[in-house]
């Protein structure tokens, strides 16, 4: 149950003692086609897991960079079915695990069952829902599990010990560890050492699961955190797309170059 591919992916990485590089870009940013090309180039450049954002226009957990990307995507008319088209297309040639990240209202309006069915159909490995925390997510997580999709729990520095135990108990293979109090893309507020200390405390609750660290990870901070099971980079990539568009450059190649750089830093 839950995602077989994601489990296998992590097992392989463990064997190779490799840290998973997990990327986040927004479906439809800057447009449907280019965002697919970006996903492909990300996959080719060595990312291990790909998060793809389904943009919502009242995001309460995102920082400026991701908001900009989401704004572009929505302005360009991205729809839920476009997201699945993109994933479906991607999956024709690539096997990299795909995780959808979105807000609950997007799932609700599409219909939770429909959403999960589409995920299964397009071979999505997992779902992150920013504003569907535990225990509110129990029913939906169950639904994901029943469809071999990982529902990825988030834990934060504010999460209490008691909650941590319960969340991890209910979690699937992958857990998202929020590095600090921040929306996505803020500057790291704590030293990597501190973050890793807290991270390890969390991981020790159930070392059999995989824990990825996200929020605030940049070219500068990524290598210091490489002992984690995986590291998520999102704002850095969204910013790269924004910069590329502004300077008339190709976001596809720029993002690819960035992936290579990041991947190198954690090898």
């Amino acid at each position: 149950m839950t995602s077989h591919t994601l489990k296998k992916n992590f097992d392989k990485l463990k064997e190779k003692k490799e840290t998973a590089l997990i990327t986040y870009t927004v479906a439809g940013d800057p447009d449907k086609e280019t965002s697919l090309e970006i996903l492909k180039s990300i996959a080719k450049s060595g990312a291990n897991i790909i998060e793809i954002g389904l943009a919502h226009n009242t995001p309460i957990g995102d920082g400026k960079e991701i908001q900009n990307s989401a704004h572009r995507a929505i302005s360009n008319g991205i729809l839920v079915k476009d997201l699945f088209d993109i994933i479906e297309d991607f999956k024709k040639n690539y096997s990299t695990d795909i995780i959808i990240m979105t807000y609950y209202n997007m799932i609700l309006q599409f219909g939770a069952d429909n959403f999960v069915n589409e995920c299964r159909r397009t071979k999505v490995s997992g779902i992150i829902c920013v504003d569907l925390p535990w225990p509110e997510n129990k029913e939906f997580a169950e639904k994901c599990k029943n469809n071999s999709i990982s529902f990825i729990q988030l834990v934060a520095p504010t999460t209490s010990k008691e909650r941590l135990n319960k969340i991890i108990k209910d979690s699937h293979e992958m857990i998202y560890y929020i590095s600090m109090l921040s929306t996505t893309g803020g500057d790291l507020k704590s030293s990597p050492e501190e973050i890793l200390k807290n991270y390890n405390d969390v991981k020790n609750i159930d070392p059999s699961k995989k824990y990825v660290i996200g929020f605030g990870i940049t070219e500068n901070t990524i290598s210091a955190l490489k002992s984690a099971d995986g590291l998520v980079v999102g704002s850095v990539l969204c910013k790269e797309i924004t910069k590329s568009i502004k300077s008339g450059q190709n976001p596809v190649t720029n993002v690819a170059n960035m992936i290579v750089k990041l991947k190198n830093k954690i090898q």
Binding site: L132, P133, P135, E136, T158
Partner: protein, 409 residues
């Protein structure tokens, strides 16, 4: 059929997960906020029964907010319309000029109790922000207010007040540049700063605890009204209708609160119908679908995809795509009736009420409620009592109204 549990406060009608009628409300928040919200919930549930806290609250309500606000008969308007008796609860007389001061004061007192030195809040009409800045200045809290850039320019007076109280106004230029974006940005800020900072949401929206705190604060209005009704009429009149505009719904929730159990009393919420032939901001009136906005499930203007839709209203305080789960609940239970007034109707109501009833000078939000009163009063019997909550004062809207009504200033 949804039933309202008798004898239980409106804010306690939710289930253990914070849902009213099993489907409205909840706390759809990023994990980071779970702990601060839990802390706040525990603190509030304790403090709301704490004698010393209640004493403090009552002290500031009385001495700073200036409660009770007047309850007056609008003789001229009644005569002019020739039907029901029209009364007005002049909540705009509360310090700062609107009901938003209750919630702001309570949040500031809570922030102090929680040991927070910073407080943040959202604002649309600027009142929530003005009041929060005002209370923050008094209680030595550093204050940041998130406000859409469209609202900053149309509600400049309230911005002036915020600045003079030493608050920082953070302009929000995304989306519709109005309240909805301000709330989002405010929540985002809190996500990043919840360790040091208390957040006050400006209406009965957001995660359940904020709805509860807000409605608990504004409930003061109906407590006063009840005792004023009894003192004027000997008892609560049988043929009574309460009218209140509904943006997020904090004013209406506070106005209805004490009367929920008394089914003789009609509760009428008036949403923003927007410009004729334009957009609106009336999710209840227009049977919008349930969605999740700002952490709570509610009727909300959205497209089929789940994107929140842009709204339009001449009243900045009503210009919001969602509505309190409390009102969704009251609607679903058939306890309150919801309707809307257009921009044009609200302006006409403003004009008529101001001309006939000098002491009442409603801002554009309560002008919506007056519009409904003006519509229904002539058809009602003379022993019917309509009470309109005039919950905001017109000066913040002077430029908009003057322009629309052609007053040269």
């Amino acid at each position: 059929m949804i039933e309202i549990k008798k004898g239980i406060p409106l804010i306690d009608q939710h289930d253990e997960n914070g849902f009213y009628a099993g489907k409205f409300g909840g706390s759809y928040v990023p994990e980071t906020l779970k702990k601060p919200i839990e802390d706040l919930t525990i603190a509030f549930e304790k403090l709301r029964y704490d004698e010393s806290f209640l004493k403090e609250r009552d002290y500031y309500f009385k001495n700073f907010i200036g409660t009770p606000t007047p309850f007056i008969k609008l003789e001229n308007l009644t005569k002019h319309l020739g039907g029901a008796n029209i009364w007005c609860k002049l909540v705009s007389k509360a310090t700062g000029g609107a009901h938003k001061v209750y919630n702001a004061t309570v949040h500031s007192l809570l922030a102090k109790r929680l040991g927070k030195k910073y407080i943040v809040g959202d604002t649309g009409a600027g009142y929530a922000g003005k009041m929060l800045s005002m209370a923050a200045a008094k209680f030595n809290l550093k204050c940041k207010i998130f406000m859409g850039t469209k609202d900053i320019s149309r509600q400049a007076i309230n911005c002036f007040s915020m600045k003079s109280f030493g608050a920082e106004i953070v302009p929000v230029d995304s989306g519709s540049k109005t309240l909805v974006d301000a709330v989002s940005e405010c929540i985002r800020y809190w996500v990043a700063n919840c360790d040091t900072t208390h957040m006050a949401i400006g209406s009965t929206v957001g995660p359940n605890i904020f709805i509860k705190i807000c409605a608990w604060s504004t409930a003061q209005i109906s407590k006063e009204l009840k005792s004023q009704l009894i003192s004027y009429f000997g008892s609560v009149p049988k043929k009574l209708k309460l009218l209140n505009c509904v943006g997020g719904g904090s004013s209406a929730a506070g106005f209805f609160n004490e009367f929920i159990d008394d089914e003789n009393i009609e509760l009428i919420g008036i949403e923003a119908g927007g410009p004729e032939n334009g957009k609106h901001a009336a999710p209840l009136t227009n049977n919008c679908k349930i969605g999740v906005l700002h952490g709570a499930a509610q009727y909300v203007l959205q497209n089929s995809e789940g994107q929140i839709e842009e709204t339009e209203s001449i009243a900045a305080g009503l210009d919001y795509p969602g509505v309190s789960p409390l009102h969704c609940f009251l609607k679903e239970a058939g306890r309150a009736r919801y309707t809307s007034a257009s921009d044009e109707e609200a302006l006409e109501a403003f004009k008529l009420v101001s001309r006939l009833e000098g002491f009442v000078s409603p801002s554009l939000e309560p002008s919506h409620a007056f519009a409904e009163a003006i519509k229904i009063a002539p058809k009602l019997s003379k022993d019917t009592i309509l009470v309109v909550n005039s919950c905001g004062e017109s000066s913040k809207d002077h430029n908009i109204i003057a322009e629309k009504l052609g007053y040269k200033l």
